[in-house]
Structures are given as C-alpha cells and as structure tokens.
Point group: C2
C-alpha cells in the first residue's frame, strides 16, 4: 500500500487536523519531513517553510492578510491554497437571510401593526432580479437558493464565463448592471479594484426598494455613501455582515438606521468554520496525494 | 364558436375581474343570468344566490369566516372554491424569511458587535430539520425553498399521503414530530382541531435553538404559552405573521421580546393579493367552462 504524503500542521499541533489529514490519505508529521503544510492560524503568517514543502493550505477564504504580507512572493515555488468555497453555502445563506429580511419587512422595529403596510414596505423577492457581484463559491451557492424563490439572477464576474442559471455580465461592463436589477449582493473578493465598488454613483442608480447586501468585505462599499443613501431613503436598505470600519464601533450610524441590518461578520458562524475547514483539508490532502491541484489555489496577481 | 359561461362579479362591479373572466373564456354578466359567481369582498357573505349558480369563487385562502357563517350549508348544491394555493409561493417566502432571520441572528437589536457570538446565537439553517405543519399549497411551496438551503423537511398532513422531497408524518402521529426537528413552520388551516396546536406541551418538547414560524392563523398557537417559552428562553424564537389576538395590540409582550419577529399579516402583501386572485379567477373560469372541477373546492366538513 503506497504511503501518503507527510503533511504538517502549524503553528500548533491539532489532533482534529491530523485526523483530517489521515482521512485524506496523508500522514501527519513534523514540518521538517513534510511536503505539505496545513496552517490553522488566521493571524500569524507561516515562516521558515522548508524547501521540500510544495503546498500550503491557509485557513480562510479571504486571504488578503497573507497576500499582503508578501508570503506568496517569498515562496514562489509553493502552491498556496485558501479555503475559498468551503464556507460558501453558509455565507450564501446569510446573504439570502438578509435580503429576504429586508424585502419582507422584518427589519421594522415599530411596535405597531400598521407601520409596514402604511409605509408600503411589504415586498416580495420572487419575481425580482438580483445582481450577484462575484460569481465565486458564494455567488454560485446563492444562485439555486435565489432561483428556488423565483428570483432572476445577474452574475458579475471578471471572466465573463458562463455561470449556470444566471445571466453573466463581465465586470468590465458592470455599469450595465445597476439599471437592470432590484437588489445587489456583494460577494466579490477584496482587491484594490473592488475597493468602494458600491459608491455614491452606484447607489444613486439603484431603486427606492433596492436592498444592498454585503457578505464579502466591508471595503467593497463606501460606508459614508451608504449611510447617506439609507438616511435619504433613496434605496430600500442594506444588510451587512461585514463593515468598514470593522468591528462597527458603538454609536456608528449603521447601528441605529432601521433599514440597516447588521450582523458581526458571522456569515461563517464560528461553530461551522472548523468543520468546513477540516473537510476542505481532507479533500485537498487527497488531491495533493493523488497529484491533482488542490482546490482554491491563490493567484498572487489577483490577490485571492 | 361556443359561448362561455356567464359569470357574475359581486358584491360590486369590478372591471379587472370582468377582464379575468373574459381571459378565462367566460362572459361577465349579471347575477340573474349567471351560472358562476366571483365574490371579491372578504367581509360580506354572498346572499340570495340564484338556483342557476353552481359555482362560487371566494376571495381568500383562509375561508373560515365564510364557512362559519353557514354559507356552505345554505347552498348545498353550489361548489364553493377558495383561493387556496394562489398565494402559496409568496406566503412561503415570508415563512422562509422569518426562519432564516431567526436562525441567522437578524433579530438582534443590540448595538454591539459582540452580542450575537457571545450569546451563541449564530446558527445555520442548512443541515437542520424543519417540520412543516400542513402540506397544502404553502407547505409544498416551502419544500423546494428549504431543500435549496440544504435543510431536511418533515411534512405533517392529515392524509399521510406522500409529499415530494419530504418525509411525511400523518397528523394523527404528530407527537412523533417534535423530538425529531430543529424548527417548526405552521402552515395548516384554521379548524377546531388545529386550535392551539402549538401549546405549552409542544413548546416544551422543542429545542433551545428551535424557531417556531406561523404564517397560517394566530389561533394555531397558544399565545400565552409562546410568550412564556420566549421569556424563559426555552426555544430560540418565534416568527409570526399572524397572531392571536390580531391585530396585535400596542403594548403586547410579543412586540418587545427580542426573539419574537412580528409582521402584520403581510405574508400576502396587498399589492400581490389582487394579481394572484385575478390569475386564479381566470384559471377557474376556464376549468368551469370546460366542465372541470375548479381548483380549491371547499369541503364544509374539513372547514377549508
């Protein structure tokens, strides 16, 4: 029986990750003997990676901290993988929850039976058109969820490649998207070119009933412009699991605007992070051991 | 070309309903010449129905007011139909919105980034098991929506008949349901036997994270028992589009319990009621004209 690759876990020993490596056909072992490294700490950056290590699994889907540290340039021969996609279904669920809560009026905090109908804020998601900005794992997980509710989907990606059950508009033509949609879900990676993607100009082109949902990174939305639009009522509302700044400080206007639904970066609830990462480690160890490219290779040029 | 049946609209003339009748192949006309009657008023009960009228379309899915008035017994030869099923997808959407908002912590009203994770209230619907009490139109519309999110469904109906994509438990064995499920959606008709179906005993058998959603009628839940369970924190929360009493009076405890999400009977938003009813009238006029049984015949024995 062939021996699987030796995979180290760092920076600290972790029996659950060892077990995932074993399930994936690998052999948990010390870094000095390893050909792969599973890194479990989101704050520390791996250092002193031996030459024999050709693959490093990083622990999050959003890896801008690692990319920003220069890690990929320091080890150009190493394949770095993120956990992109592993958390996608649960993040997608948070986005859908926020969109539905917005459209269906669950944000109202008036202790009155008459408020919502009088305000004309009793909408329906079915039959509407939703833009998903970023057709990666989260966006692709959202599409069947939205379709099951009878919504149409316009997916925006960099490549313009086809996406099942969605109309694709490439990011280069994103200006064509805003007039066509009822709602916007931001699910794109944080990169220099997506910074403040949703700005005052975009918000001005949305509809008075439009909800803007962000489950990606706070930096993709211009917070001040969003607060202004919400206060002016020029859009329906915003559902934010990520904010800029983050954490959202006490006293920030987004806490008290009724049409802002804020959750504290919990689209991946902590209790679901670890099981999903363990599953991804198992899959990627198996791929690595079989000579296949592991899932979610980070492209240092793209930054994700 | 054969002449379609003459269908009257009452109690008041309504050109949009006349148009729906025409689209369905019927001929709008006075009650004295009609073989069918489309009744558009939810408060008044039709009176003096001529002998030639063999079909009456009532305007709502929940027809207990009409049934309670003795209308069906007064005209035993008339086929009465409700609008059951016509509003199902939009009601289902409200139920899903409330369940997701509950499970994903959108109900929290603390202006604090730390509250939800510290309270351990960051759940996920995917992977959970949801009981749908009542597998009529609303329940059946919910199943694919829940399945798209990765939830399992147990459907409870009177007949025990198969329901696609759900495990069916007949209402006679409903006590077996509670220990098996994470969440409960009440979507059953209001009848004497469903009164206070969710009572203190049922609530005590649910889980600390369980959400109870009601989009049917307020009478199906014992409100005092629900308030007690919410205050004690023995269930996760409740999403109520219908309440008992209704409207929910100002100052009622359900308005201020944070884990109670209340919307004012808007699962059928008013702007969506009329289009759905017009569509149902068109379909049923066509069925009536072709000698088929119209959709959603009311059984006076069942009460819906």
């Amino acid at each position: 029986m062939p021996q699987g690759p030796v995979i180290a876990v760092g920076p600290k020993p972790d029996p659950e990750f060892d077990a995932a490596i074993t399930r994936g056909g690998g052999v948990p072992g010390p870094l000095a003997e390893a050909s792969g490294l599973v890194w479990t700490d989101s704050r520390a950056v791996p250092e002193g990676i031996p030459d024999a290590v050709t693959w490093v699994q990083l622990p999050f889907a959003g890896v801008e901290n690692f990319v920003g540290s220069g890690l990929l340039e320091e080890y150009p021969k190493v394949v770095f993988t993120s956990a992109a996609g592993a958390y996608a279904p649960t993040v997608a669920e948070q986005a859908l929850a926020m969109l539905l809560a917005g459209v269906r009026g669950l944000w109202h905090r008036e202790h009155s039976w008459d408020y919502l109908p009088a305000a004309g804020r009793t909408g329906r998601l079915g039959g509407s058109t939703v833009a998903i900005i970023g057709a990666g794992g989260i966006g692709r997980a959202l599409i069947p969820q939205l379709r099951a509710l009878g919504a149409m989907v316009i997916a925006v990606n960099r490549s313009g490649d086809d996406v099942p059950d969605a109309v694709v508009i490439p990011a280069s033509r994103i200006d064509e998207v805003w007039p066509q949609v009822d709602h916007v879900i931001v699910a794109a990676p944080s990169t220099p070119e997506t910074r403040a993607l949703i700005d005052a100009g975009v918000l001005a082109r949305l509809k008075p009933h439009s909800w803007v949902i962000n489950v990606a990174r706070g930096s993709l939305i211009d917070t001040d412009a969003l607060v202004a639009a919400l206060r002016a009522g020029t859009i329906g509302g915003a559902g934010l699991d990520v904010t800029d700044p983050e954490p959202l400080p006490a006293g920030h206007p987004l806490w008290s605007i009724p049409t802002a639904i804020v959750t504290p970066h919990v689209a991946n609830p902590p209790q679901h992070l670890r099981p999903a990462l363990l599953e991804r480690v198992e899959v990627n160890v198996r791929r690595f051991g079989n000579g296949l490219t592991p899932l979610a290779v980070i492209d240092s040029g793209r930054g994700y």
